[in-house]
């Protein structure tokens, strides 16, 4: 992280979110890049403005007030590059998550092979898969055409055929999309992304190339055993950008400011997670979770290998009413520390879906919002883990793999009244394993840095190395089976001054060890009863250096998976005890 500056270039990062638009400024401060400030304004892609630029201008205006820097000229155009008097910026990076999710139809051959891979590809951006049509689908050609015409997708993803594999069946599947596009008016034809057998490129072009916009990306299933989404994800992000430019006024101009590099927010967020995984180069992965109003997004990277998922159905905004289709209300209410009727929780969810920008103004509403966050984090992470093979030296298949660090964002976490509430929400939702650090992206910088990575990687590494993100704390989660109250971990903390503290952690407990922010300490861990803390196997301990976060060091021995008492009264008592322990 000691990368030297080459050219000091200021950067304005703009993120058009579902609720808020943010303008963030980065520039050189004493020889290193620093985050200087953020201006936030409501997003204006919807009525009455129906123009993203209005919200962008307001966010920049606010940023100018905060930083005292002039970034736009008299005609409200961004001054690029910066002038000798300090006006303007040198580069602009832009991301977008606003707008309705892309409507996607998936065509493929085998349901659990190519169709599933194409469906997973669609879930790497803000999209809703409206229908999947595989080879064994019983609908005939006319019915398939009618489905596409009725659904009017923005994009049809066509997969199928391993490299050098099936060809006839793939071309047969294309007939439906070809016919549907032929029957649609020119300006309403769906974009088609072919991610199947690459040997068929020319035949695919000849068959449907003249019937609408056609794109190609490498096969998502080059062979039966391998799923390869990364190259297609890049193409999908490109297509998403072009669709957004058509759909939302002002996005074309934003993209031009960013030199054509506008990215879906999730792509930029994932890029940072991948970057961190390369930077840490540990055996553990890096996990990123963003709980937004538009969608919940998850990015996992293991030695640079990325897996990401975007779930509009788990967003805490307009899609919230839909959440009940994926989890019963008691899954949400089980996290409440207050006695709130289930009916009120449902009403809350419907009201919030009507007013996604609104905030919880009572203790009850705040408790519901944080319970919802726990549940959507759990659902989104589990969905992303689906189909992922168990990792060597990792915990059991149904548990979260070892990660270091875990980066979290989203207003529900960053605007929580105190860091303890954010940390407990993350602990409950993610249920991390082993030793990890929970980091909060307070200013929603991760997507900005991801977008900036393409134009200024030095800036990204220097800002990530600065204390721009909030270290919530080091978390130790021993894994194993023991009766509640059984000692499962011995822990010795040696502080920088040489003083020591020893603790015995019991199964079922949640403990906080005081370690001031930024202060280092040495932890000596000795798991008992063959518990695993991710130090090389069951019962294996060792020494680890940690840095104090907002909550110091937290030991979560509540069990994995965390099981809550079925009795509501006992459950609330226990949750309140945990809240008290952490100082929520």
């Amino acid at each position: 992280m000691s990368t030297a500056r080459v050219n000091a270039e200021s950067l304005l990062a703009i993120d058009v979110g579902g609720v808020n638009t943010r303008a963030m400024l980065f520039d050189d401060v004493e020889g290193r890049y620093r985050f200087l400030g953020v201006g936030v304004a409501p997003t204006t892609v919807g009525a009455p403005f129906k123009d993203a630029l209005e919200g962008i201008r307001r966010a920049i205006d606010r940023l100018q007030q905060i930083t005292g820097r002039i970034l736009v000229d008299e005609e409200e155009r961004i001054v690029i590059p910066s002038m000798p008097d300090g006006t303007g910026v040198d580069t602009v990076a832009a991301t977008i998550s606003a707008g309705p999710p892309l409507r996607v139809v998936v065509l493929g051959l085998l349901e659990d092979i190519s169709v599933e891979s194409a469906r997973r590809l669609a879930k790497t951006t803000y999209a809703r898969v409206l229908d999947c049509i595989g080879l064994n689908d019983l609908r005939d050609l006319e019915a398939r055409v009618d489905v596409i015409l009725r659904l009017r997708p923005d994009l049809v993803l066509v997969a199928g055929g391993t490299e050098g594999g099936a060809s006839h069946s793939v071309l047969k599947q294309l007939e439906a999309v070809g016919l549907a596009n032929y029957l649609m008016p020119g300006d309403q034809r769906a974009e088609v992304l072919f991610v199947g057998n690459q040997a068929l490129r020319e035949e695919v072009k000849a068959a449907i190339g003249h019937l609408g916009p056609l794109h190609f990306a490498p096969n998502v299933r080059p062979n039966l055993e391998t799923e390869q989404l990364d190259p297609a994800q890049v193409k999908l992000a490109e297509i998403a950008r072009s669709i957004r430019k058509r759909q939302i006024k002002g996005i074309e101009e934003l993209d031009s400011w960013a030199g054509g590099g506008l990215l879906p927010t999730v792509s930029a967020f994932s890029r940072v997670i991948r970057f961190l995984s390369k930077m840490y180069s540990s055996e553990k992965g890096v996990l990123g979770v963003d709980v937004g109003a538009t969608a919940a997004a998850v990015a996992m990277a293991f030695s640079g290998q990325l897996k990401q998922g975007v779930y509009p159905e788990f967003g805490l905004g307009r899609g919230l009413a839909e959440l009940l289709e994926y989890c019963p209300p008691e899954q949400i209410t089980r996290w409440l520390h207050l006695d709130i009727p289930q009916g009120y929780v449902q009403e809350y969810m419907y009201t919030k879906s009507l007013y996604p920008a609104s905030v919880p103004a009572t203790s009850e509403d705040l408790a519901i919002e944080q319970s919802l966050a726990r549940e959507v984090i759990r659902l989104a992470v589990n969905r992303t883990l689906e189909g992922m093979p168990a990792r060597e030296n990792g915990p059991a298949q149904d548990l979260l793999p070892w990660f270091e660090p875990i980066v979290a964002g989203g207003s529900v976490l960053t605007r929580a009244p105190n860091p303890a509430q954010s940390l407990l929400t993350l602990l409950d939702g993610l249920q991390p394993t082993g030793i990890t650090t929970l980091v909060l992206d307070q200013n929603h910088l991760a997507p900005a840095l991801g977008a900036a990575a393409a134009v200024n990687p030095v800036l990204v590494s220097q800002v990530l190395a600065s204390s721009t993100f909030l270290n919530l704390g080091t978390v130790i989660c021993p894994i194993g089976n023991a009766r509640p109250g059984t000692p499962v971990l011995r822990l010795r903390v040696t502080y920088e001054g040489g003083s020591e503290t020893s603790l015995e952690i019991k199964q079922g407990s949640l403990e906080m060890i005081h370690l001031p922010m930024g202060q280092r300490a040495q932890l000596q861990l000795q798991p008992l009863h063959r518990f695993d803390v991710g130090m090389g196997g069951f019962g294996r301990g060792g020494s680890v250096r940690v840095i104090g976060g907002a909550l110091g060091v937290v030991v979560d021995a509540r069990g994995r998976p965390l099981e809550l008492p079925p009795d509501p009264h006992r459950r609330r008592e226990l949750i309140n005890k945990w809240r008290w322990t952490l100082g929520c």
Partner: protein, 351 residues
């Protein structure tokens, strides 16, 4: 800070785009006066196609099949019309299985679009067509009283309005609905009985305007064949005083229920519109506003959900709420005289 707006206006002029979801045909002309239930445009929303395999049907080669296809693209055909053939000694033919239109021929096949009733886009409220939107719909202008709500079940109708909510927090029960409400728009308060929706459908009423509704009834409300508009939200909320006063004073007037779902991208909201005669041209209500002292506001979240008040101060910076959350707030004097702090994010300006 720019503010969202809710319109509850006793007399105003509205202009509304009425657009088809897909391209279609506009069937009214500019300047035409339309009724609420008049169709202004039509299209085929649920297309149905049939692929006829001439080659296989007539047992001929593809080249020959193409030669014997008698219909042309765009041709309308009636059930039984000969589309291909005759061939062979028995003079085999392919006939249209249903009424429809030929949309594609070639490679020995005919693609037929089956005729089905078109989707008709209705005006929604009585007014004058002031602009045609090519292949998509119209813009209609009208004057009258306007009340915007928060939720609608997607249906539209028009009828005489009966008031069954005599106080803003009255609960609408099934026994309050009787045969005298058949064909009318019913203004109710809170609804938490499935039976209410059922009885209203059996009468049937032309529509229900509710202050609030139990969220458990949502699916049933979506299935109802008459429009339902919820004005204030989900849970037991009394009707906001502005809407209650305006709607109850317009009892027995004809009202249009445009129960479109709230779409933040297009700006379409569920609305009750009561057409009223006007002498002079009325100004259009503003679409953008800022939170400033003196503005009348509507709070839609607890603890002041459904309450109306006037901003007395917009506090600088952020303020910590009793639950610990820091956010921008306004001091609002509620109608009962109480002065409270409400997050700006939980307010709409009432116009």
């Amino acid at each position: 800070m720019s503010a969202p707006i809710r319109h509850i206006l006793p007399l105003t002029t509205i202009r509304r785009e009425r657009l088809l979801p897909v391209a279609g045909r506009v069937i009214v002309r500019k300047g035409q006066k339309v009724g609420a239930t008049d169709a202004v445009a039509e299209t085929r929303l649920t297309p149905e196609h049939l692929l006829l395999d001439v080659r296989r049907g007539l047992k001929v080669s593809q080249e020959k099949a193409d030669r014997v296809i008698q219909c042309k693209i765009g041709m309308k055909v009636a059930e039984g019309d000969i589309l291909a053939g005759p061939v062979g000694l028995t003079r085999r033919v392919i006939r249209a299985p249903k009424n429809g239109r030929v949309v594609l021929t070639g490679e020995g096949q005919i693609l037929l679009e089956i005729e089905n009733p078109p989707y008709e886009l209705r005006a929604g409220f009585p007014g004058t067509v002031i602009e045609l939107v090519d292949e998509r719909g119209v813009i209609i202008e009208a004057s009258g009283a306007l009340v915007q709500g928060v939720w609608g079940n997607g249906r539209i109708d028009f009828g005489l309005m009966y008031v069954l909510a005599h106080t803003p927090d009255e609960t609408l029960t099934a026994d309050k609905l009787d045969v005298s409400h058949r064909g009318s728009i019913v203004l109710g308060g809170y609804c938490d009985q499935l039976e209410v929706l059922k009885v209203a459908g059996e009468l049937p009423v032309r529509g229900l305007v509710l202050a609030s509704m139990n969220a458990a009834l949502l699916n049933a409300a979506l299935r109802a064949r008459y429009p339902i508009i919820v004005l204030d939200g989900f849970g037991h909320l009394p009707m906001n005083s502005a809407a209650f006063k305006l709607l109850t004073t317009n009892e027995r007037r004809e009202a249009a229920l445009i129960a479109e779902p709230w779409n933040p991208y297009t700006g379409v909201r569920p609305e009750v519109f009561i057409p009223l005669p006007v002498q002079d041209e009325l100004p259009f209500p503003p679409e953008t506003e800022e939170f400033t002292p003196g503005k009348q506001v509507y709070s839609f979240r607890a603890p002041y959900a459904g309450k109306i008040g006037v901003i007395t101060e917009v506090l600088a910076g952020t303020t910590v709420l009793p639950n610990g959350l820091a956010t921008q707030v306004a001091r609002v004097q509620l109608e009962n005289g109480e002065s409270v702090l409400i997050p700006l994010a939980n307010l709409e300006i009432l116009l």
